[in-house]
Amino acid sequence: MTNPIIHQKRSAQINLGRMRKVFAPKPLSLGVASIMLTACGDNREQAMIFTNLQDCVSQMPEQAEQCELAYRNALEEAQRTAPKYAEQSACEYEFGAGQCTSYRSNDGNSWFMPFMAGYMLSNLSSSRYYSSPVFTSYSRYSPYRYRWISADGYEYGDIRKRRVKVSKKAFSPKPTVSKTIKRGGFGSSVRAKSSWGSSRGGWGG
């Protein structure tokens, strides 16, 4: 607009690239992560990745206690949130031979999940710090091969890299993978009322 409107009542800018559907490449689950990592913002912080407890303690001996606490938190979180597979072969296909362990959930079911490959720590010098498990794949069938990834598929870069900039959200609790016992418990009202054929369909108003 050549004449800037002082009290503009409409959205100043819309990202047309995001709204375009035909030419836009289909985003993979990884697409979002790369946006988060490249977006400039105040919300990002420096994080460090350690491959095990000893790695953390040897690099920060004066913070050995925090290292251990963070390690235990991450292990617990990994059990809860790591991708779970019914078959060992399926897990190894994604993460590589010998990279998976069996796991028995609280409800008594057996699963296979990848080993925690490391843990990511937010700035230890601040009074509140967060930890989060990270995984990697050695499978040549996986797009995550030799990359750090979170339980829900966010990618943090090459596994040789130990310092990463991440969104604060990287440390928020991840969804638990659950065994679904039943589907179709929502939506019956639509079937009951749809003989009236809201002409374009839809139950909004």
Partner: protein, 414 residues
């Protein structure tokens, strides 16, 4: 007689054809304009698939409505925010009153959950208030679509793009603006909601086989991704229940935050309804909105704010004045898209739209006809994102009652 007079009630309304050079006027105008030559192709490119239905236009850019800034700010924007605050006061009363919860036909199982979601201040995403407004005088509230409002994409994005392109083509003045900060505010509010719940994902859901609802959900997914938040999708019918009592998507991932384009009053009465509490989902819209998306809201508003200029007198069935000389509109407590609505004059129904609703009872509202522009009855939808007024959408219908076959027209402020 349905119409108060056969004459156009808006004698001053002008139909103007062609390029815009108008005298100053205080009235809302309906102005014809050439369509953008390749807009259908553009719609394809942007994934707007429901612009035409059964060969009939839904998106109609052969004309637009023009408002003045004063009309928008004084007659629409300010009342929208004021009525929203009044509605929140109604919620505050209803959630702690069993008698009212019963009157609102809310199943007892959800009383505590609704009260909790209200007490926790679970954030709302959006609402649409529908008004009868003719460009002068006060806008009268028809209803509040607080739970599952649609026509969001065509409002927030498509009419915005239309204005941008018509200005660039020289068909509209460079000074043209639009009351439409929807997309900007949606992105902001979605980011706020994700931060509020400390989540990195919001799941989105609507019913299968509805192109329009899928389009609305897709739009909100786009806004969510614009906010830097992941936005997976699951159809309502495919939502699963896990052994541990959580809801899951088709990848067996736990749903912790869910936008559902599906009415609360349905969910509360379906098989998984009893599992809602244990599933511990952050709901969008939050469950306290069950109180607002309910037509019982209208008589409650009238009781709490009698004679408010933007309200139409409304009554519960049991409290209907015995002799009413003015015509009334009878609306089911739960209904969508103008279904099951009748206009009653001296005890006789004149217009009666069919539909599947009404088993939970009805409310009555004083009849206030929609303004007519040419052959069209015009309804204004006024959007809220969170607590802020965020724009308008305009629907036209050849019938008195705006239904889901009504056409959508863009607007400008000049």
């Amino acid at each position: 007689m349905v119409h108060q007079s056969e004459q156009n009630p808006l004698g001053a309304v002008q139909e103007v054809v062609g390029e815009v050079s108008l005298p100053f006027t205080i009235h809302m105008l309906r102005i014809q304009i050439p369509e953008r030559p390749h807009w259908r192709q553009k719609a394809e490119e942007f994934g707007f698939h429901f612009h035409t239905f059964d060969g009939e236009p839904y998106w109609d850019e052969t004309a637009y409505y023009q408002f003045s800034l004063e009309q928008i700010e004084n007659d629409i924007e300010a009342p929208t925010e004021e009525i929203h605050q009044m509605c929140l006061e109604v919620v505050d009363n209803v959630v702690k009153d069993e008698e009212l919860l019963r009157l609102f036909q809310i199943p007892e199982l959800f009383w505590q959950q609704i009260a909790d979601s209200w007490r926790n201040k679970d954030p709302s995403l959006y609402s649409r208030l529908d008004f009868a407004y003719q460009g002068k005088g006060v806008a009268k509230l028809y209803e509040n679509n607080a739970d599952t409002p649609t026509s969001l994409y065509e409002s927030g994005f498509w009419q915005w793009l239309w204005l941008e392109e018509q200005v660039n083509r020289g068909k509209l003045s460079r000074g043209s603006d639009q009351f439409n900060s929807l997309q900007e505010k949606l992105v902001h509010q979605l980011r706020y909601i994700a931060e509020h719940y400390r989540v990195s994902h919001i799941h989105f859901s609507c019913c299968e086989d509805t192109q329009e609802d899928r389009g609305t959900a897709q739009y909100l997914q786009d806004c969510t991704r614009e906010a830097g938040i992941d936005a997976p999708f699951v159809f309502i019918e495919n939502i699963g229940l896990s052994e541990t009592g959580f809801f899951t998507d088709t990848h067996d991932h736990t749903i912790d935050t869910l936008f559902k384009l599906y009415p609360w009053e349905f969910m509360q009465r379906e098989d998984f309804g009893e599992h809602i509490e244990a599933a511990q989902v952050n709901w969008i819209e939050p469950m306290w909105k069950s109180v607002l998306s309910n037509k019982a809201l209208l008589p409650m508003l009238w009781k709490m704010f009698p004679n408010h200029p933007n309200l139409l007198p409304s009554w519960f069935e049991s409290e209907l004045p015995t002799s009413s000389s003015t015509p009334l509109v009878k609306k089911p407590i739960f209904s969508r898209e103008g279904a099951n609505i009748s206009v009653i004059e001296q005890g006789k129904a004149h217009i009666n739209t069919g539909g599947p609703y009404g088993e939970e009872g009805y409310i009555y509202q004083a009849y206030c006809p929609l303004p007519k522009f040419g052959d069209n009855y015009t309804l204004i939808g006024s959007w809220l994102v969170g607590d802020q007024a965020a724009g308008i959408s305009i629907r036209e219908d050849a019938s008195m009652i705006t239904q889901d076959t009504s056409r959508y027209l863009p607007h400008i402020i000049l």
